[in-house]
Symmetry: D2
Subunit: 395 residues, 4 copies
């Protein structure tokens, strides 16, 4: 039991499965008697991992990746009261203490006690507190009573594990984007990006009762995936403006709500397709969102981007058409999703068969050893959400 | 064109179709140049009409019934700017001026300018301002620019008229109850009552993303109707407590949210089935709603009830177990639904085929002359929502 | 150090200061390594303690009273990370785990892990989980990292200790009532009751920007106290209706917001002054609150009242004019205040000299041995908030 | 009575008092029988007028300025029901119809029926619908029943007219900025800019219960004005970072809430003082607002700025450090304040003497003929809010 293997970042474009330490109830010298050790049941590759793997961050070599974790508790620290060995649990990607001002307000994405360098932490991510990632066989989760969501009936949960594995990040993240954009029954929404978060967001918009969900992307397979569960789609490779394409669908060149599920590695549309234009999504959302609308921004924007298109972009400064947003009284909500605020109710929606996100994002199960291949395929734009199954419990 | 016919209340248990005046742009001596005359396309019988017809109010003989109105504008007053002859429109049951403090805050259910005796008015209802009811061929609607919702494409709208006719009252009313109860994605909800408002509420809970919607009633046909669109049901005739029946469905004897779609003519459960117990629904909702839950109360409670079970009930005083609600930190939201707050977005949900309320409430179209029969059948508990089609435009 | 003394309930009308056990980091067999031992700096007598002392509950003899606690940490359990010996802290009266669904949502008044018999717990209170009260020299506080509010600068805090001591209950409770009633800048508010919670609520209404705060009571000293910090007052002994008295002050017989700071031991007004009428406050608030208004109900209503005026009242069933509330679209918010949601920001308001609650409620410091006298004086209606100073650190 | 005079924009740096047409109940060919003619009691010069007067917009010569209007009704159109000749009224600067989707939702700053070229309109402003400005003796206000706030008691109102005149714009605008930034009891707030809107915002933060309000500017007189009513101040001319100056005041280099009351004509701080840097305020607010904080942006950002510092700025594109905002989960709220949402309650706060904004912004009354001088003095940074008194009713 004391062996462990995990997916390591070994330089731009390179990830490897390596033998790694079996987790302890500690982070360096910091004791974590409030933590548990999990045998990982499923752990997903995330688009934000790709930013590191593409070399767009300062992630150190050897960093163990993975922040989308579902597992079974095999050991609980002495201070853990309400989670027990044997429990099947979903782990929010945000590491949170449950004891600081922000956690008490439900802002677990910006916990003050888990990252010495800034508010907020995550597993297996650069600058996010040094917590070991979970694309592995085993992982340690601190503040287990606070963070973990127990999946109530193991057999019933395992039958839906491909859906439930998405509770650790992309479903709540997509939901947070939708909620921040004001999506509600009857909404007409545009979701920028049909990667896993975009598709998850589109599915969440439907769960929230949206009347019409439009998804834009430049990869035909991803658009087909969006269409498969009832979304309208916009092919951004076409040399037709986004507004015109929206008008063809809904009769007017505007939507009520918009969500940016792309972030800073955005590329130009139409004739400029393929050229990195980091503010293009934000600016296009201002142009197509009606006055009074809200823009949810779960897509990641960073403070430091060694590969930025210009000097400003390298420090996270983008040329944003704020004058237009202001004229339309837009509201912009940014930041990491506080998973804990949403995961319990989304679990209910899955368990009661109201909501089928695995189909929406095309969950594809792979072994731990297939992770490097998964990263490559995902980077090429596969319309798949790769779920690693390190103990062959899912497949 | 100058003739008109309408459904009149003629005493307990009696309604008649009568020749009535063709509407004018006035209410008595009050000029309504801001109003329009509608040719009525559809007009529904409502459970709250039954309170009058059963003699449980002080409604005067001759009152023309009907507050659920959809129609075509045939004449617009000189002060109407944005609605034109030919427009197909949904009429909120609340009469509202759009100019008082409450209307400006979206509280159109308690408009201050349309009823000399209290806040709030409606068409064809006792104590609600004297506005002539719309179970008729033609009706006048004041403050047309403010009140009316234009159905954007007439052909497309007429194809869904059985759904859209419900926008004037029961769909927004059910929605308001659900929203007031905090229903959101993943919620586990109990809806008391499977009459049209209860069924509409249940359908709205689904639209809002509820994971599990449980509906309770004592009429098997109504429960079957609830089951037909995916609700769980509870038969209150059984001598098993509500809590136990809930536990059989969800594993615990509590729900997260509850909605009272019954109101003051409630009857006892189990062994006391059939006995009027006006507070029984409210009290049972406190017992089965979890601590911290909210209770939406769209069901009507009145200030004066000549048929009340005791002296207190005759003036709207009921024996409520507030001590229990308090111990559970419940929040109670009462009052008429402000239809205008919700109808546009619910129309979207219908037009984009996201939402099918006509099926949920079993819309049944009848002619104006069949209205008296409709009242009788409805009073006996038919699991139907009767929609009057005075000009044979629906059927 | 291992000695301790506390205020015990010894039967109706009787409290005694007794030698009691020095606190341990445990509650019976339940270990509390997440807890701390406090040397109590100040601990207040609360109106809700009086319900027990008057014999209106099933409190057992020997119960140690006191849930309004401010203290200095003298020992921290091994699982406590962010609170240290020497810290000066305010203790929310709600005992909460910080790990259950409700705590994660900020609903610490109905924590699910601290009271086997219902949601929610408190120190020194009947049916509230058995946690030992803090009208004593020392007390144990569980889940210290989550519950405690550190007062940031000890000297600065001790200089304002008479204000800060109110953060454990009545200031947040009054604030919660005001917020629940929708009080905001410009509001015209009626606060029922000028006991300490009513006065605290009135002061909070002012902090929230209310334009006009009206306080009603039957004790002249309490009304004078309310007047002392700028409230308008209504003497309920007068044989003039509440509505008429409100009209004399604001020109119309209605207020925008209302707060019930009385609860179930309410007494009649005017000619019926002195007669217990448990629903009279709730019913009068419905009559004077404008349509669309909200009613905050921090005043306690109980599920079991051995001294209730009739059989219904003994089980918390009161005759409430719900028909009137419904006609006015009122919203009613009940329950214990979740102190943790409010105490940090209210502390800021005190420390920056924006807010002076000690003056508003007339804080009066007494020794531990004077506690029995304090209970008696308070029961007679003294316009004072008694603060016990067990270690002579305040005075 | 049929004569009229008003303040006209006659080119960069030039305003003149001219004879102008007496208002009609029309805007060009659009009839406004829903409107009223006002005899103007007071009308204020606004910072946003200065953008036009400085030549930073495309305002046409001859445009009559003025959108901050208080007046007495002298004639009401035939469709006006609830406002009468003789009424003293405050006019929200936003022209709004009260009948479109946005107005019904309270979003009167982006009304859809009053400006053919975009959502939202105002009196006397470029690109805002062509409504004649109110720095004049008389003006026409459309949709009077909806827009106007009646000041209830004329004598009482005239006694406070210097405060009440601010209800048409800067008090609600400052309040909206504060509310958008999440200001509430106990907040620690930074307000960028000590012009009239900044000072109004600071006063509103105090009304909302903020514990500590810090105002930054580069003009000593304006900072002195802020200090005069209890604000902390920061002199941005100093070569000390904003964060450091905040730390000196509150002990940490961060605030909880921030409001941008400057807008696009912002200038650099410290060594770069005086150099136009249009995004500097937004970027500095991101750096000093704590993670999870909100930024209110009532300061104007435009879509077209002929005098912009570079090509991007000329079309409203600014270099914004969105990466930092995202890392801190900031929320940004932009746009015109919907005055109607706030003015009634703020009027209460003034009438009940809870709130004294005229002192905070240093209201200075001038005659209509002194308006050109007022513009000049204001442009030089006078710490005054100029209120024009065209009929000598104020002074």
């Amino acid at each position: 039991m004391a062996s462990n293997r995990g997916v390591a970042y070994m330089g731009p474009g390179k990830v490897e499965v390596q033998s790694i330490d079996f987790p302890k109830l500690a982070l360096g010298s910091r004791k974590c008697d409030h933590g548990v050790i999990l045998k990982i049941v499923s752990t997903n590759i995330c688009g934000s991992d790709q930013h590191m793997v593409r070399g767009r961050t300062t992630a150190p070599l050897g960093l163990i990746l993975g922040h989308e974790i579902t597992g079974e508790v095999i050991e609980a620290g002495r201070d853990v009261e309400f989670v027990k060995a044997g429990d099947l649990v979903s782990v929010p990607f945000n590491v949170a203490c449950g004891r600081c001002r922000n956690c008490k307000e439900g802002k677990t994405g910006i916990c003050l006690h888990v990252n010495p360098s800034r508010a907020g932490a995550a597993y297996g991510y650069v600058d996010m507190g040094g917590w070991v990632g979970g694309q592995a066989e085993f992982v340690m989760v601190p503040y287990a009573d606070f963070n973990l969501l127990r999946l109530p009936d193991k057999a019933r949960a395992m039958a839906k594990i491909k859906d439930l594995t998405l509770l650790s990040d992309i479903i709540p993240t997509g939901f947070h984007g939708a909620v921040s954009a004001g999506v509600a029954p009857g909404s007409i929404v545009y979701v920028a990006g049909a990667g896993p978060v975009g598709l998850a967001c589109a599915a969440c918009c439907q769960l929230l009762g949206a009347a019409c969900v439009i998804v834009g992307d430049m990869i035909p397979e991803r658009l087909a995936q969006a269409r498969s569960f009832g979304c309208e789609v916009i092919d951004l490779r076409k040399d037709v403006t986004l507004a015109e394409q929206i008008e063809q669908i809904v009769g007017i060149p505007e939507v009520e709500c918009a969500v940016d599920c792309v972030g800073f590695e955005a590329r130009g549309h139409g004739k400029e397709a393929g050229v990195e234009q980091p503010a293009t999504v934000l600016n296009s959302l201002m142009s197509v969102t009606q006055a009074g609308g809200k823009v949810g921004i779960p897509g990641l924007y960073v403070t430091d981007d060694p590969g930025g298109v210009d000097q400003a972009a390298k420090t996270g400064n983008l040329s944003i058409r704020i004058g237009l947003g202001w004229a339309k009284s837009h509201v912009f909500t940014t930041g990491q999703c506080p998973v804990l605020r949403y995961h319990r109710q989304l679990m209910h929606a899955i368990l009661y068969e109201k909501f089928h996100p695995a189909k929406a994002v095309n969950v594809t199960v792979i072994s731990l050893d297939q992770a490097p291949q998964g990263y490559q395929d995902f980077d090429k734009g596969a319309a798949k959400k790769f779920v690693i199954d390190p103990h062959k419990m899912v497949a």
